[in-house]
């Protein structure tokens, strides 16, 4: 089913999406916010530019964006997947605790800020290009992978990655010698078990966007993890 989003506001568009059970394509989207917020059991394809907070609180739906997406995609999402064929704005995957976000291009600032994991929930975000500053700020769980495709000699992440990170895992393509990490995390070369785990995410990325997983995985990767699961335990007193 095709919905012409032109001249429809966010509320109306979301109401139309909720009414239908079959897969939907939104055409002519231009800045409508909160699309598919909280939705489960839906398959949505978006042509045009969706507005901020696309797929906020997403609960199982699948969203494909054919072009770029704006800020706060997948804010607090719980399950489902969001696939962006272009680049993505700031704070992608803000506090997500489940589901997957795949971005073909670059991510803006603060991607994966306060991502977390809960019991069987393990959120995953794969960024094909580069990421801006404060990647994984306050990351508390889940997995962030940055592939740096097309970055050539540029740094694949901006300043201050992993600030306040205290859980989860980050994969960054390359040796990351030019990246300064905070003292509470450890950055080490990915070992074979890490690469096995990464292969799962990269293969899914390559299936979506049509590229060669072996080639990507043939380069070295760096794994970043926090030193402690509870860095604030001894902030005032050991207990």
């Amino acid at each position: 089913m095709v919905i012409d989003a032109k001249d429809l506001d966010s509320r109306t568009l979301n109401a139309r999406l909720r009414e239908t059970q079959e897969p939907c394509t939104l055409v002519g989207c231009c800045g409508q916010r909160f699309l598919a917020a909280g939705m489960s059991d839906k398959e949505i394809r978006i042509e045009g530019i969706p507005g901020n907070a696309l797929g906020a609180y997403l609960n199982g739906a699948s969203i494909t964006v054919c072009a770029d997406a704006q800020d706060a995609v997948g804010d607090t999402m719980n399950a489902g997947e969001i696939i962006v064929h272009g680049s993505i704005g700031d704070t992608a995957g803000y506090a997500m605790r489940g589901g997957k976000i795949f971005v073909k291009g670059n991510a803006g600032y603060r991607a994966g800020i306060h991502m977390k994991a809960y019991q069987e929930k393990l959120p995953v975000m794969v960024i094909g290009g580069t990421a801006g500053s404060f990647l994984g700020e306050y990351q508390a769980g889940g997995v962030i992978a940055v592939l740096g495709l097309g970055a050539e000699n540029r740094k694949i992440v901006g300043f201050f990655p992993c600030t306040g990170m205290h859980g989860g895992k980050m994969f960054l393509r390359g040796t990351c010698r030019d990246i300064v990490f905070p003292s509470q995390v450890t950055a080490r070369p990915a070992g074979s078990s890490d690469m096995e785990e990464l292969r799962v995410y990269v293969s899914e990325y390559c299936d979506l966007f049509g590229c060669n997983a072996d080639r990507i995985l043939s380069s070295p990767f760096t794994v970043v993890t926090p030193d402690s699961k509870n860095p604030y335990k001894q902030m005032y007193a050991a207990n």
């Binding site: 231009c30 700031d90 300043f159």
Partner: protein
């Protein structure tokens, strides 16, 4: 109702801009349509626009756009202006009566030239004279407010949503080589016509999305140099900082950006270009009180160009795109797509990284 400056309420906002590098003139209509997809970023308490190159017939005169609370104030102000300027034209700014915009003040414009004899006796240049006059009117003449004072440019602002403000001021009848736009969501002040953006002084105009936390530190410093922050809004102080750094201190745009959005000391320490490192240390040391902290994304308009800048932590969004001779800047890509569906090279500048676009020499 209490005005700006009388009450402080403890911001979202929307900005957009377009410029033609070839100096081609564009109608103001497209810029107000560009604000529509960002409607929810504003709350109807302020919208405004600045257009450059819109008064070619009067390009040698300062265009003073003014709000008056009543006819008597206007008469009183005109008497004051006549003592300082030759007024070549004075007229009501054309507006359209629409339900979305109400309670408008008296809105007037004057095309003026400072009296030469005064410039000689005061031993100051034309721009300084105009700036001081604007400060004097805004601080001392109750009920009168100059909201635009540049040459061959003009600001149009009101209480309302930006797309309605554009219709109200008939922006489709103006043509400029660059336009900036703002939708306001006031967080600290109640929202009055004068408090809408852009804020201007001479040909500088600033549209701003954000809420700066260094307001008082910046204000205390800038008021030492004769600027009067009469409205308690952070954008006003940014405008005066830009005038001070660029006009008075003669800094380049890039240097001014490095003052207000200075990199962290750790980032400066890690710079490998020693000359650049030295310059950043110098600027942070000389102008520490002009570091602007807290979230902001701004577009500074000036004679012949635009500069977009984010705070160094990039706590607000901003994207840039291009098509042919035109460059687009907006809080959201959707807004750029309204101005130009086929815009190319969409990218998000990093925090503290200025994007400076100038019209080719002599093209306007």
């Amino acid at each position: 109702m209490k005005k700006e400056g009388q009450v402080r309420i403890p911001s979202g906002c929307a900005i957009a801009a377009v410029i033609s590098r070839d100096g081609n003139r564009m109608s103001g209509e497209r810029i107000y349509h560009a604000m529509k997809p960002m409607h929810d970023r504003s709350n109807g308490l302020g919208g405004g626009f600045a257009g450059y190159g819109i008064y070619p017939e009067y390009k040698d005169f300062y265009a003073l756009h003014m709000f008056f609370d009543c006819r008597e104030t206007r008469k009183e102000c005109e008497a004051f202006l006549k003592e300082r300027f030759e007024i070549v034209k004075s007229e009501r700014i054309p507006t359209r009566t629409i339900p979305a915009i109400t309670d408008e003040p008296i809105i007037w414009r004057y095309f003026v030239a400072p009296l030469k004899s005064l410039l000689v006796s005061m031993q100051i240049d034309e721009k300084e004279f105009v700036a001081r006059t604007v400060m004097k009117v805004n601080a001392e003449l109750d009920g009168a407010y100059v909201f635009s004072s540049g040459k061959n440019m003009g600001t149009f602002k009101a209480v309302g949503f930006p797309e309605d403000v554009g219709v109200f001021y008939k922006l489709e009848e103006y043509e400029g080589y660059s336009w900036t736009a703002h939708g306001r969501y006031p967080t600290n002040t109640p929202g009055w016509w004068g408090g809408a953006h852009p804020f201007t002084l001479l040909d500088w105009s600033v549209v701003h999305n954000g809420e700066i936390s260094s307001y008082d530190a910046n204000r205390r410093f800038i008021e030492m140099f004769g600027y009067k922050c009469s409205l308690q809004t952070d954008t006003e102080v940014i405008t005066y900082i830009m005038d001070y750094l660029l006009r008075i201190q003669g800094l380049s745009l890039g240097e001014a950006a490095s003052v207000v959005a200075a990199p962290f000391w750790s980032t400066i320490a890690a710079k490998t270009d020693l000359e650049d490192k030295e310059k950043h240390i110098f600027l942070r040391t000389v102008f520490p009180s002009l570091l602007v902290t807290g979230p902001f994304s701004i577009v500074l308009g000036f004679d012949g160009g635009l500069m977009a800048l984010n705070d160094r932590l990039k706590l607000r969004s901003m994207v840039v795109g291009e098509k042919d001779d035109r460059v687009f800047i907006a809080s959201e890509e959707a807004s750029i797509r309204v101005m130009e569906p086929d815009a190319e090279h969409i990218w998000a500048p990093a925090g503290g990284e200025p994007v400076i676009v100038k019209v080719k020499d002599g093209a306007f």
